[in-house]
């Protein structure tokens, strides 16, 4: 029986149109656990939610003359 996590993964893959196998859904379930932890760690950075969410390396005229 698929776990709840695997059911979520299956739905996400279906939405994305990716033809993953059942074995890959199990692997992606493990990866999702890791990704959730990564995101949680990122969200712990003080001030992260109030930071300007633009591209990090967008052209910066003051720095490198791009426009």
């Amino acid at each position: 029986m698929p776990t709840d996590n695997e059911k979520v993964v299956e739905a996400l893959m279906s939405t994305a149109g990716l033809p993953v196998s059942q074995a890959e859904i199990a692997q992606l379930g493990e990866l999702r656990t890791g990704i959730v932890a990564m995101v949680a760690g990122i969200r712990e950075i003080p001030g992260v939610t109030s930071e300007w969410p633009g591209l990090v390396l967008e052209p910066d005229p003051a720095r490198d003359g791009t426009s």
Binding site: V9, L12, M13, T15, A16, G17, L18, P19, V20, E24, Q27, L28, L31, R32, I35, M38, V39, G41, I42, R43, E44, I45, G47, V48, T49, E51, W52, P53, G54, L55, V56, L57, P59, R63, D64, G65, T66, S67
Partner: protein, 474 residues
């Protein structure tokens, strides 16, 4: 006598102008090295022997007639097979078909290298589309290390690094999204530079992470890397992230002393993890001591949110990589290697909000790192936690824990790796030197001073050097 294909670019350029050697001789010997070692090392996905010899003959004629294109004139170079060239299709070391990769034209950065006189020897192996892991069933993703063929040469610019070490070319083009220039250069004991984001055109290079991707040089020495970068860099209106800044003279600070230069050392994020090799840590301390001996002012620093920023880069690659490859993933799923398609599928495991949070974190870390660079001129730390990994039993999870390169992709700063010694079993270690945006001349100045003082970058695997030099020699 050193084989001509194992010379630095600087030395070969001098020999060409002294008429001690011709470009045809350099290319012929590079081809001979490929004949000897490519079956085992898997440097090439495609070789252009005939067109390279033709170009070498033209280079010799031009030099004879006084038409000198500069220091890369007549020099054999390799091109990573995720970058378009006129000689043939680009594969990305993948079975996936994408009509954009079938086009036979030079990417602007290749055109620049060719215009500077570089002789394109062939396309070099890589991890599939610059991501994934070595797969035994796909030999072109599993390039072996010239120092020990049981070990991986690193990736994703695998063949570009191992080909320089083994004399199949003197310099190579690599790409670096999370460390794909610096990791193989460190594992192979040579010099690799990830330039400032936007410094080198990415047009006609297969994208991986559009907000992280850079194109840069791999060669034996800091001075060779500087020469290559000078030829590769410059604004490209077709690349939306291309900088319009005036280019510095990338060789301009080479040879200058580093007396008084402020060098920040990050030990906390790099020396105390469970996978850190004790010999590598010792080599790093010796490298720091050498920089201090050369007059640098050493201070302890800590890169901000190092673990979270490494994760932010991985999440960004998953999402941006899937965005580029989505059509092929839907239509040719089985053609991707299993690790590659799972990496890209992971892009659907994070939400849009998660992706934005990763970019917000990157901005915070970039700002804090800029503040660090008000206090120090460059920052140094090991390039990896250990020497080249074994190909047998390769584990992706381990790779993620031993690579120390992602941070500098996150903020777009230039970072170079240079050899900093060898393990007791003869495998090279890498020292990473990073600086603020467009500080390549200073970063390369420090790398060059260190190389001149230590000579680690000139070590060659004994079997490639005809037994002249070995990793064990002092």
């Amino acid at each position: 006598m050193t084989m001509t294909s194992l010379l630095t670019i600087v030395d070969a350029a001098a020999a060409l102008r002294a008429k001690d050697v011709s470009s045809v001789e350099l290319v012929t010997e590079a081809i001979a090295q490929a004949d000897r070692y490519d079956d085992e090392l898997k440097v090439y996905t495609a070789r252009f022997d005939e067109s390279a010899l033709e170009a070498a003959r033209a280079a010799d004629r031009d030099l004879q007639a006084g038409r000198d294109r500069g220091p890369l004139h007549g020099i054999p170079i390799g091109i990573k097979d995720n970058t378009l060239t006129e000689e043939g299709p680009t594969t990305g070391a993948s079975l996936v078909k994408n009509p954009l990769w079938e086009q036979c034209r030079d990417a602007p950065v290749v055109a620049k290298l060719r215009s500077a006189g570089g002789i394109v020897m062939g396309k070099t192996s890589l991890l599939e589309v610059a991501v994934g892991v070595p797969e035994a069933s796909r030999p072109l993703t599993s390039g072996r290390n010239p120092w020990n063929t049981d070990r991986w040469a690193g990736g994703s610019s695998t063949g570009s690094a191992s080909g320089v070490v083994s004399g199949m070319f003197m310099g190579a083009l690599g790409t670096d999204t999370g460390g794909s220039i610096r990791l193989p250069a460190a594992f192979c004991g040579i010099t690799g530079l990830k330039p400032t984001f936007g410094c080198v055109s990415r047009t006609d290079v297969i994208p991986l992470g559009f907000s992280l991707d850079t194109v840069g040089p791999i060669a034996r020495s800091a001075s060779d890397v500087a020469l290559m970068l000078q030829a590769m860099a410059g604004h490209d209106p077709a690349d939306p992230s291309s900088s319009q800044a005036a280019l510095p003279d990338f060789s301009g600070e080479l040879g200058q002393p580093i007396q008084g230069l402020r060098v920040g050392v990050d030990r906390k994020n790099h020396l105390y993890g469970e996978h850190v090799d004790g010999e590598l840590a010792d080599s790093f301390e010796q490298a720091v001591a050498e920089l201090e001996n050369l007059g640098a002012a050493i201070s302890e620093i800590e890169l901000p949110y190092f673990k979270q920023i490494t994760d932010a880069v991985l999440l960004t690659v998953f999402a941006e990589g899937q965005a580029y490859h989505h059509t092929q993933l839907c239509e040719q799923w089985e053609a991707f290697g299993p690790p590659t398609r799972l990496a890209f599928a992971s892009g659907s495991l994070l939400t849009a909000g998660d992706y934005v949070a990763a970019q917000q974190a990157r901005r915070i870390a970039r700002r804090l790192t800029d503040e660090l660079f008000d206090k120090v001129d460059v920052i140094v730390h090991p390039s990896t936690a250990c020497a080249a990994l074994a190909l047998d039993g390769f584990k992706l999870e381990l790779l993620g824990k031993i690579v120390y390169t992602h941070f500098w992709n996150s903020n777009g700063c230039p970072a170079v790796t240079t050899p900093m010694g060898f393990s007791s079993d003869g495998l090279p270690f890498g020292l990473q030197i990073a600086g603020p945006h467009f500080a390549e001349p200073k970063v390369l100045r420090v790398a060059d001073a260190y190389q001149q003082a230590t000579g680690w970058h000139l070590r060659l695997p004994a079997h490639l050097a005809g037994g002249e030099r070995t990793s064990q020699e002092g």
